[in-house]
Symmetry: D2
Subunit: 475 residues, 4 copies
Amino acid sequence: MTEPILNVLAERYASPAMCDLWSARGKVRMEREFWIAVLKGQRDLGLKIPEGVIEAYTAVLDEIDLEDIRRREAVTRHDVKARIESFCALAGHEHIHKGLTSRDLTENVEQLQVLRSLELIRFKSIAVLHQLGELAERTRNQVITARTHNVAAQPSTLGKRVAMFGQDLLCAVERLDDLLLRYPVRGLKGAVGTQLDQLTLFEGDVEKVRALEKRVVDHLGFSRLLHNVGQVYPRSLDFDVVSCLVQLASGPGSFAKTLRIMAGHETASEGFAKGQVGSSAMPHKMNSRSCERVNGFHVILKGYLGMAEGLAGDQWNEGDVSCSVVRRVMLPDAFFTLDGLFETFLTILKQFDWYEAVIARENQHYFPFLATTTLLMQAVRAGAGREAAHEAIKEHAVSTVLDLRQGKIARNDLVARLGNDPRLGLDHDQIESIIENAAALTGAANLQVEQFLADTEKLTNTAPEARTYQPGDIL
Amino acid sequence: MTEPILNVLAERYASPAMCDLWSARGKVRMEREFWIAVLKGQRDLGLKIPEGVIEAYTAVLDEIDLEDIRRREAVTRHDVKARIESFCALAGHEHIHKGLTSRDLTENVEQLQVLRSLELIRFKSIAVLHQLGELAERTRNQVITARTHNVAAQPSTLGKRVAMFGQDLLCAVERLDDLLLRYPVRGLKGAVGTQLDQLTLFEGDVEKVRALEKRVVDHLGFSRLLHNVGQVYPRSLDFDVVSCLVQLASGPGSFAKTLRIMAGHETASEGFAKGQVGSSAMPHKMNSRSCERVNGFHVILKGYLGMAEGLAGDQWNEGDVSCSVVRRVMLPDAFFTLDGLFETFLTILKQFDWYEAVIARENQHYFPFLATTTLLMQAVRAGAGREAAHEAIKEHAVSTVLDLRQGKIARNDLVARLGNDPRLGLDHDQIESIIENAAALTGAANLQVEQFLADTEKLTNTAPEARTYQPGDIL
Amino acid sequence: MTEPILNVLAERYASPAMCDLWSARGKVRMEREFWIAVLKGQRDLGLKIPEGVIEAYTAVLDEIDLEDIRRREAVTRHDVKARIESFCALAGHEHIHKGLTSRDLTENVEQLQVLRSLELIRFKSIAVLHQLGELAERTRNQVITARTHNVAAQPSTLGKRVAMFGQDLLCAVERLDDLLLRYPVRGLKGAVGTQLDQLTLFEGDVEKVRALEKRVVDHLGFSRLLHNVGQVYPRSLDFDVVSCLVQLASGPGSFAKTLRIMAGHETASEGFAKGQVGSSAMPHKMNSRSCERVNGFHVILKGYLGMAEGLAGDQWNEGDVSCSVVRRVMLPDAFFTLDGLFETFLTILKQFDWYEAVIARENQHYFPFLATTTLLMQAVRAGAGREAAHEAIKEHAVSTVLDLRQGKIARNDLVARLGNDPRLGLDHDQIESIIENAAALTGAANLQVEQFLADTEKLTNTAPEARTYQPGDIL
Amino acid sequence: MTEPILNVLAERYASPAMCDLWSARGKVRMEREFWIAVLKGQRDLGLKIPEGVIEAYTAVLDEIDLEDIRRREAVTRHDVKARIESFCALAGHEHIHKGLTSRDLTENVEQLQVLRSLELIRFKSIAVLHQLGELAERTRNQVITARTHNVAAQPSTLGKRVAMFGQDLLCAVERLDDLLLRYPVRGLKGAVGTQLDQLTLFEGDVEKVRALEKRVVDHLGFSRLLHNVGQVYPRSLDFDVVSCLVQLASGPGSFAKTLRIMAGHETASEGFAKGQVGSSAMPHKMNSRSCERVNGFHVILKGYLGMAEGLAGDQWNEGDVSCSVVRRVMLPDAFFTLDGLFETFLTILKQFDWYEAVIARENQHYFPFLATTTLLMQAVRAGAGREAAHEAIKEHAVSTVLDLRQGKIARNDLVARLGNDPRLGLDHDQIESIIENAAALTGAANLQVEQFLADTEKLTNTAPEARTYQPGDIL
């Protein structure tokens, strides 16, 4: 076979920064840095490493020949051994990996990939929140007909709707921040977790082994260390990570579904600059392709979570590698997916458009119905009998709906009907004014947007460059 | 239909405390307390509530007639309305639920059930950790043959193995603690989240609405409040909760699987007091029925997580009730499952037994192989040539394994073979002593157990009654 | 604890027929029938069963005291033993369950519950298909604006849309029929699947053991028998069953989502008889509560599939009971869920309503855009230059869309604009007539509905009573 | 970015044949063949296609420049359009894709990939079954201690155990065969499923459109055609396919888990030729790496099933592309996974080894316990009192177990104890002979293996080349 099959998620959707973290080459480089860090630590703590050895390894750090490694793996049927051999052959020494098992290497390096990826995801999340804040700001005065059960329910504002989905993401970022503070690394624990091999190397000197482990963990950039592990760290940590990714996709997911519905009503759209249209042939057709893709990414993420679930709580004794092939797929692909989702979603937010005139028509159509409780209250204040007024409103509302559905009328004329009914004691202008005020019946929406902006601002201050982050072009 | 179908998880496995939190009666009572709290708040903040009304509702708080509610729901096809009517009919007033939508009631009360359940789960988790600590303490000196790939790898201790699975749970409890600190409640937000109805009741006085909401949230016992929601709180919070439950099951899950494997080797068992046997007919048969059940519970939990996944990120506009039937099933059942798992697991820990003589036989069988690297080192120190010694060890180890598998020998005689080989320059006693010391080659296992005990103790101090918690009898 | 926690799915949504199949009492009865069938078979094949024994058991078949069984289980910690004891105590004999293991009983009886439930589900599926056919027939002439990406795409008919979702269900019923033909039962295989105990009873006479097994399998109503099993049948069969249930929910799921979207446009609704409205207060509010519930049921089903996945491919040796608690929950609850879904969906179909006038307005709004390719063709036929005509159409379509979105016009006036443009060479009436014919541009929709009706009819003939099946009232 | 991220599953595990079916190049070729098939059909049915056009397209069929397509997609943001342009640019014509929508192309071609992949999977499944048959044949006389709850239960044979897992796969292949017979293709249905565009092309001639569709479906090799679809075929078909793949992994999954357990007892192993050992350093260490990988693949597959679940039942109106990115990942990767699983599993079966002497020791250890019921029966026949004999057996069995666990004895001496007890009335030789016959107490195991061989043979006859299929080398 000649043509390689590429990773679709990496090639089409994820950002270069995320791809770099999970590329074969990137990982080999991280491993080599890890080996050198261990070697230096071992030397500094008293192990005899001949002069020039560390320098020799360092000199070939970037000479990464994936094909050579592949060939060696085909022989040894052991991927770590292949990478050790390849590095040693280049350096002309055999000093790395002393007192290490394969897992001492791979567990820590993979956790490093996870940590770095989580940090990148945090950055993207904040970029998204910042854009959501901008959008909520821009749309906070756009009164809309809010819907429950997908049917008109009460007035709200578009900005409030945006902030509502932003709230979902805010909650998820809080979880991510908790995770980043907690996320502990496995460290140098040996074949079954007892640190026997390092202890043997250091002739039983526990303090030296601890010092070495601390150096390496510091090198990796972790602040917390697991104490009791076997060959592997608990796979429930992978589950913790991937379930956090799924949660981060929830706010964008709901936003995207809602925008797909709004596009169906032509009240808003993704991806078309103001004044533009869908296509010249079908100018009305504002296909929410990117929103659909966001929802697709969410489905994919849940699949990877299923894989993470399959590993957690399934450790036999001190561990094995039944998780290996799963993690090779699940970890990078879950990060590629959420990264691609955020890239796509940022483009949606950047190009989001809404159509005031269409929204106004929708409001005109529904506000008379939504304002009936207010009308009743005003009618009673103006002197009408409560029961009579209630009956009048009910009659007219029902008959207006029926006439609309049966095509007897083309537009909602409830205002006129009520204005003509003496039982309410309100004239047409009074009613019209109440309905227009209905537009103002958006309750605390504006204050809530304010709160969202403040929360977002506070978070963005922890990663200020996220304010100006620009997503890559999407396919 | 005559015989009701009972909830299997509640009836067979969950504790009474957990069942109470989710019983129909318990929920109705929480709702009524909520309504009265709102009513009191509304009165104190200036709404006119006639004399005696609150007292009338309070007087019938516990008169809960589920059949009456059911009958009313069959008519109204609306469960909340049915419960309002039933309470009002008893009190002889119609003052509750003012300015509330159904979701103002149900969202908050359901989050209260979740919060209380999480607190109960935290308590149980700590009880489990405490028992794991006790067991690790009891077994810290029991040297075992640790296994990777389910095959003998290096010596360790049973206590370390216990601590290793405890570490998994410790990580999950940290996540739970983060969640408990974060978990925010929806509050009184009205039909589409804008608080319009309460604002209308209080004639636009935002401060009063905020004060009312604060009172109610305090009543429920939440410390954090969501600001931007629609009809519902983001369902990603349910996902956060259920995924946390799944994670809490991971440590017990791995422990149970490993104990099932150990029972297969007769090195340990669940559920038989010291000196007892499986059954008189099949005394060797130590069926790990409870461990199997723990693993089964874990599978169930993952199913409920699948339901939670199906809801997160699927909010249309300001929300609907497509989540309703799912949450009716998923929330209680997920908590029943984990509660049942912990009850079962506590019984396992209480009755856990291990068989020193069988473990000793296993160690005798494997330690000669596991000690080969140490033997090599000692032989070289004693003057043997490294290559010759390595070759000798390799030859004898391989031939011993082959002879064992082919039945030529019945017990591992590697020690004798090596003692007879001049290439090593070690006599039989020297070798025997090294092998016996292999038992001591458990590295930092003991120190790691120490660390686990310290971590567990610290956590248990936050819930000291967990130390003496006794699980219910299991079926 | 006093109040039992009921199974929500059974109590609120499933039909009595389905509940009966999974009730504790129903299962005990099936087991007793199974024991008697085995006993009779053993007697007929030569085992000595004293006179009157079978009669004694038969006499107490229906004396089922669940509380007695529960008490016995609390003592024995073994549910099957408890049920044997209870039956024997009533009969005054100890002859049942000879040469049987627990699993010989439970596997077969549970497979019987599955088989009967699948048959009931098949019946319901056909009832649903029949109603879909009726609805497709009623709506086959209702031209609609079909949507892709939730945006107007081409004309179709409502009947075709119904048939499209029906097609999904048709495919799933074909799978169900395949499954029903294949579904094999475990039979009397003994503790590890070798039939040792029955062979011992019959002193090694293989033919007699086979004959006994055949009798019992016939009694259960299975046509196929597994030959090679262990203690349990392969759990992949449960996965086969539950995944089939999930698939059956797909067509109704897509129908329900689409109807929720249509309700948002007021083009159709569930659950309101012609001429009725949502509620007197909010007459426009056609909440798709039942459709939302159907989508919720689908989410639940997928959760149970997750449980089935957790069991398949996880058999250790000849099997254990780690699947036991999972199957206690998953099997009944999955069937209750799909049964409840079908009951709800049948009510939706019965009460489905659509609003011709609203649909007509939607068609009027979109058909001018959808007909542009036809207009171009006709213009060219009428002598216009292709490029000029294309340019004219494009210009007017784009400006019409922009004017609509910007509120400059309230209704689509593309027809008038095109009529006034000499480049097309078509007058207003010609264009109007083409647009009106657009309504006829529904391609093969009608023929496709025809095909659906034929396919459905053919299937319904295999279960003719499904034609008149009426769902229970829904909450 | 320089280095492409490869698809791990394709690169490391799947066979070249499977990779070819899903390669970018392979798919482009299939699409081009599809376009040409449509073009020929259209010409033959009367559409005017200029002379030389079809030839021009045919001539450049294999000139596939993926980079060119990628560049075009970056401009058009539409992958199908990019591939049309690329093909047309090469051919120098613009005649393909007439009356087709994107989905007319992609749905059918993707279903073709699925169909071909299913056929390949069927072939592999049969190769696996054939190898299982061979192994069952080789091991049918190897008596083993069968286990339930992972604890010795009754004698069986290794061949029977193999056949038991084979039975699981047999059931799954039956399901696959049903699916292959049923699997229907979408056909040329146009933008919303009404075939409008083809009907317009053929001026309303339904018969010609049907004839064209039939030609194309025949070209693809499908026997069944969907009649009622929208833009897309029901995604429940993808679910049907992927859930079938998951089911096919179940038998190998259980086999692999059991072999991992057996390796822990050193009764069997994967991957070492007879007489070989694990490694020279750790010759006892028979790591079940490939079995672990098989279990890992199963976990991965379930993740992809989660993705398929997320799509089924989620069609809005006539469809959209929210499924697109999901299917790009899920479909190829699910097939790569199962293909990789089968490749790995075939290697395991080829190299499977078992250790008669170790098995014999296990049998010796457990058979005395397993034979107690037989001993009781024989003692009674020989004249002992039933109660006394039962008591004697019980006493000795319990005390033997206790002595073994407490290390008082090293080997099971129950036989001797019973021989010395006058209550049984059986001498040592008689008992020994019964125990030895216990080895023969494998019931119908042999007959069951026979049945498995017959079933497998019958199936293999439908794909005889599967007999000699050799898996690729595994990493």
